[in-house]
């Protein structure tokens, strides 16, 4: 297995208390596989991604338990310098949400795309230049050789996301964490970036973790999806299974909340209520307070039930 996360717990130590942002999640990503990490804002999906790179908010964020293994190597105990040298940008790379702010405005894109290659001693001098041109070609940036000296503001949003992708794949990482890579883009550009991620995966065989709140984007790119709610994975399975037979009430509600063109209903369906505070979360099912099928048992933590091959959900209804 390329990536193996077991019982990961990431806490944020805030003034108000300890926020259990990621509370005991486990998942695997195989080589060449794309896993969709789906959830609403605050569900802990971004902090899960940042935990993999151990890039948590300075001072407050801490991994307090669990294990993260990449190709069998434990990352939670690795030293900061080893992480920067061998993991970040080298084996695990990240694409962030907003291409308008992800690039440094005062450095040329040639410098920025070359930076990971230089830092990880992959190429220098003339070889570096041709490596940069090559990787920009792979992300389909038009005439890259002429544009190395250009600055981020001279590119469109979609082009910038391609440049960010080029920075990420420069060192052919084993795993790509894409945090909402399409959210800030126009719909037509979103399709291009999704296709780009597909191409990158076909080229490099990297595993991809796609973090998104958009079930449509997840469905178009992923083979498997893990649905996160309040710091936990509440349902996971192949895309088909999740869409055809969603089993957790939250997943059902989430799918029902997607507005459909041509549907009779004119009112938008929303899930009533708010996710619980993760500073002092309920001991039972975290969705219980908003769940329409709540039972007395839900006051206890629900077991994870395997429904079919690779499809499981954590809910008392399924027992």
């Amino acid at each position: 297995m390329l990536l193996s996360v077991r019982d990961l717990q990431t806490h944020l130590h805030l003034k108000r208390g300890v926020l259990r942002a990621v509370d005991g999640i486990s998942f695997d990503v195989a080589e060449g596989e794309t896993l969709g990490l789906v959830g609403e804002s605050g569900s802990g999906k971004t902090l899960t991604g940042l935990s993999l790179l151990r890039l948590l908010p300075k001072g407050s964020g801490r991994i307090v338990g669990g294990s993260i293994k990449l190709d069998g190597q434990e990352l939670t105990t690795l030293s900061e310098s080893a992480l920067a040298r061998d993991i970040r940008g080298r084996k695990i790379a990240m694409i962030m949400q907003d291409p308008m702010t992800s690039l440094n405005p005062v450095f040329s894109i040639g410098d920025q795309v070359g930076s990971p290659l230089r830092n990880h001693d992959i190429a220098r001098g003339a070889a570096l230049r041709s490596a940069v041109v090559d990787v920009l070609q792979r992300v389909r940036l038009p005439s890259p050789a002429d544009r190395l000296g250009d600055y981020p503001h001279q590119f469109s949003g979609g082009q910038r996301q391609r440049i960010v992708a080029a920075m990420a794949i420069g060192c052919t990482p084993r795993l790509l964490v894409a945090d909402e890579p399409t959210t800030a883009l126009d719909v037509t550009i979103q399709v291009q970036i999704i296709n780009l991620l597909r191409t990158i995966q076909a080229d490099t065989g990297a595993g991809i973790i796609l973090i998104t709140h958009d079930l449509g984007v997840a469905a178009s790119l992923c083979r498997r999806i893990a649905v996160m709610y309040a710091g936990q994975i509440i349902e996971t399975g192949p895309v088909r299974a999740i869409y055809r037979t969603p089993s957790h009430p939250y997943t059902k509600a989430l799918l029902a909340a997607i507005p459909r063109l041509g549907a009779k209903r004119t009112r938008l369906v929303a899930i009533a209520g708010q996710p619980p505070s993760l500073i002092d979360p309920p001991s039972g099912c975290r969705f219980a307070a908003r769940c329409t099928q709540r039972m007395d048992k839900c006051a206890e933590a629900p077991p994870t039930v395997t429904l079919s091959d690779g499809h499981s959900a954590a809910c008392w209804k399924l027992v």
Binding site: R85, R88, G89, M94, M96, L103, S108, V164
Partner: protein
């Protein structure tokens, strides 16, 4: 860019003209130079004649027009006191003033950038705290007092550096520090807050995520962003240095424009005052123009007119 530059150039010329008018009027409010040029018992006819010779009998606006007309071709008249062209008097002393102002600026930046950067990186740490104390001290101490203190400690007590004069490196150190001391505080604060902003930005987060060494993140990728607001202020600080130079030059007997103009004011030597102030304002405008141009070097968005 060229439109922007032209606009700034025109603004600069207007500022210089304005400064020349103000100094023209103000210097004449300070009193009558004739009384200082002639002996106390000079006959009225002699006073009248001198006044006529110097052109001081004409209405103020006529005097200004004559001055402006001559100034355009580089003629600022002769010093009443030294009987030599005022322009030459000022130009001879200008390099010393620029040398002092630049050294002061260099000192302040050389202190402010590392202290500001480290304060931001170790926010709330001991560098941040010590930096803040120094910053406060700097702003609480006027240049003349810093100058006297430096002379007392380093020239008199320790005898490490000369207390006055001009010519050697050693003589430059104390004046440059007294001049550059004051703006260190403000500059440190600018660098610190700009660095804090940048270090919290998405592109720095991405740099970290891609394994860029922290040293490069701070001193290369973040600092160039943080340099823009500092550069913006450098023109203002250079101008402040030119102003502060009047005081520091006097304390350290530095043969610059400032001291010359101060002396000229006391002796109501109008041509020298006018030439001195005019050149200082030209320097001021030019330094601001240079700063405007240098943004483009640091920030490509400005270079491309965005």
């Amino acid at each position: 860019m060229s439109g922007f530059f032209t606009r700034r150039l025109i603004q600069g010329v207007i500022s210089i003209i304005g400064a020349s008018m103000i100094i023209f009027v103000i210097s004449r409010l300070s009193g009558d130079p004739i009384l200082m040029l002639l002996p106390n018992d000079a006959p009225a006819s002699m006073i009248e004649e001198t006044r006529r010779n110097l052109g001081l009998d004409k209405p103020l606006w006529v005097q200004y027009l004559i001055f402006a007309q001559n100034a355009l071709v580089g003629d600022f008249g002769n010093s009443y006191r030294w009987k030599m062209p005022a322009l030459k008097l000022i130009l001879d002393r200008l390099p010393a003033t620029i040398e002092l102002a630049l050294s002061g600026l260099l000192f302040s930046v050389a202190v402010a950038v590392p202290v500001g950067v480290m304060s931001a990186v170790h926010r709330g740490g001991w560098i941040d705290r010590i930096g803040r104390v120094f910053a406060m001290l700097g702003q609480a101490m006027p240049a003349f007092w810093v100058g006297l203190l430096l002379i007392l400690v380093f020239a008199i007590k320790l005898n490490w550096l000369p207390a006055f004069g001009h010519g050697s490196w050693a003589q430059l150190v104390l004046p440059a520090i007294s001049l550059g001391w004051y703006p260190v505080a403000a500059q440190t604060r600018i660098v610190r807050s700009a660095m804090l902003d940048v270090l919290d930005s998405d592109h720095i987060r991405l740099s970290r995520a891609l394994g860029t060494p922290e040293r490069l993140i701070i001193w290369k990728y973040a600092l160039r962003n943080a340099a823009v607001p500092l550069l913006t202020m450098l023109g203002v600080y250079f101008a402040a240095m030119l102003g502060g130079a009047f005081v520091v030059e006097t304390i350290f007997a530095w043969p610059g424009v400032g001291r010359t103009v101060v002396e000229a004011v006391f002796s109501r030597d109008f041509p020298v005052v006018q030439a001195g102030v005019l050149f200082t304002s030209i320097l001021f405008v030019m330094s601001n123009l240079l700063v405007d141009l240098s943004y483009g070097l640091v920030d490509p968005r400005i270079r491309h007119g965005r």
